[in-house]
Amino acid sequence: MIDQPLRVGFIPLVDAAALIVAVDKGFTKAEGLNVELVREVSWSNVRDKLNIGLFEAAHLLAPVAIASSLGLGHVKVPIVASFNLGINGNAITVSPALHAALMSELDGDPTDPMATAQALRRVVVARARAGADPLTFGMTFPFSTHNYQLRFWMAAGGVDPDEDVRLVVLPPPYMVESLANGHVDAFCVGAPWNSVAVDLGVGHILHFVSDILLRAAEKVLAMRQSWAEKNPDTVAALTRAHVSAAAFIEAPENRNEIAAILAKPHHIGVSPEVLLRTLDGRLKIAPDGTMRESGRYLLVGREGAGRPDPVQAAWLYAQMVRWGQAAISPEALKIAQGVFRPDLYDAALGIIGSAPTDVPDAVGAFAGPPFDPSNIAAHLAAFEIVHMKS
């Protein structure tokens, strides 16, 4: 298993940190693995190359792993994840004009997502009355956390994401430019792009995703189920290397070194200072230099973030159902949950008989009832705006 090189695809984003550091700091080599990182330009490429076997593993949007296993929008290829690369890490950034409009309509705390979502509804209604174009929101992929997080937030305030605004897919590197030239009014994306927009003076960070969901699985270390079954030792070794890398990343004394590694041009290729903000959870949120700090901005490994949690997979599947991407069925729910494999994580670390952490509400959304993965239909019935497949 040592000689066989593993090709692992990634997109240049901060939540690829565990993967990049695992290779750069030699954690994969220490496990006897020869990993070749391949930087990609689109999630479609990562998905396809993983599906057809050009990659053994990949940094993948958690919902894409689920969609691929369900055969949504594309070929059905069962995917499993033995490691969760990141919890949270996204933010919603709005243009200065939309920010001003929201603040003038705001009734409450600007970090309270219910207050901002209701302000958004008032802005949307006023625009419609004035005959203005609907607001346009950028997100990264149809099956993305960004898509679901934007929708969850605005729908809570009474904005229908399919009727009242436009949601468009934009590749992350194009987000900032599109906000600057007015092609989108806001976007939801991962680091470093929100900070880049603020630094250029073209955006205000309105919300950290942790305002909307306390715990949101973001990217996973994904592999084909068939490959994982054939190569259990390699899966275990790769998982252990990621656990070690994540622990290294979380140690505050290593932050500068991590930022320098991620900043390399063949990794993420932005300044270490911008990367440090994400790792520290201390972000400049407005062009005037206003800072905001959160201990939950991006979790890489701490608070058990690395262990895949099937409840998170169920929540993502519930969003696919809510917005008409997937039909509701117990079988599909089971497949979705089966993508997140805490058993592979436990096996890699030699953890025997660990009971799944029994948290009453693992997602912690700011609106709606606590998430109940055992009854998605009832859970979704509690929301006003739902576009389920008929």
Partner: protein
């Protein structure tokens, strides 16, 4: 689209040369309705304006993710589109990805009608990569020639040799040291600059 009509094909590619090569190939094969989108900005609107039956995009293009939105059944999408992947034919999917091209088709278009288009795209994309490799090789060969000429000049001057003797010296040194003649030439130039 009636069965006998040529499907409308849109090529999304920022490389004008590759797009031209592909377009030419398609036209030669009898596909007369071929359009090219070079500008990625507002891509979805541009695609909808042309209303194609088949969309071809290169894999180096980050905007591929934008096209994925067309799989969705939503108000924003006029005609649902699927990626052309023949599930029974993994080889073809692999060949396509390896060639660096991906195709999307409007739902309902027959597989037999699309397969030849995709095959043509794969072969033209491969031809383009080969062309690019050859160009690179020619370029580096030219570079090497220039370096060897400069090194020859230095050796001729310093050792009072004629051109052929200088070249023989370079070549025999390269053979003795098991290096490329270009590498020996480069070290002579570097040394000469150091000792200037």
């Amino acid at each position: 689209m009636p069965a006998d009509q040529s499907p409308k094909i849109v090529i999304v590619d920022e490389s004008p040369i590759r797009a031209a090569i592909l377009e030419e190939g398609l036209r030669e094969a009898g596909y007369v309705d071929v359009q090219h989108i070079r500008e990625m900005h507002n891509l979805l609107a541009r695609v909808y304006a042309l209303d194609p039956d088949v969309i071809v995009i290169d894999l180096e293009n980050p905007s591929r993710d934008v096209l994925e939105q067309m799989f969705q059944v939503s108000r924003a999408v006029r005609r649902p589109v699927a990626m052309f992947v023949d599930q029974s034919d993994a080889e073809s999917a692999r060949a396509s990805v390896e060639a660096g091209v991906s195709s999307y088709i409007v739902d309902g278009l027959k597989k037999e009608r699309i397969k030849p288009i995709l095959d043509l795209c794969i072969s033209r994309f491969n031809a383009f990569s080969k062309l690019q490799d050859e160009l690179e090789r020619t370029k580096s060969a030219l570079e090497e020639r220039k370096i060897i000429d400069r090194a020859k000049g230095i050796v001729m001057k310093l050792k009072g040799l004629n051109e052929e003797e200088a070249y023989v010296l370079l070549r025999s040194t390269a053979m003795r040291e098991k290096k490329k003649i270009g590498e020996i030439a480069q070290s002579i130039i570097t040394a000469a600059e150091l000792l200037k």
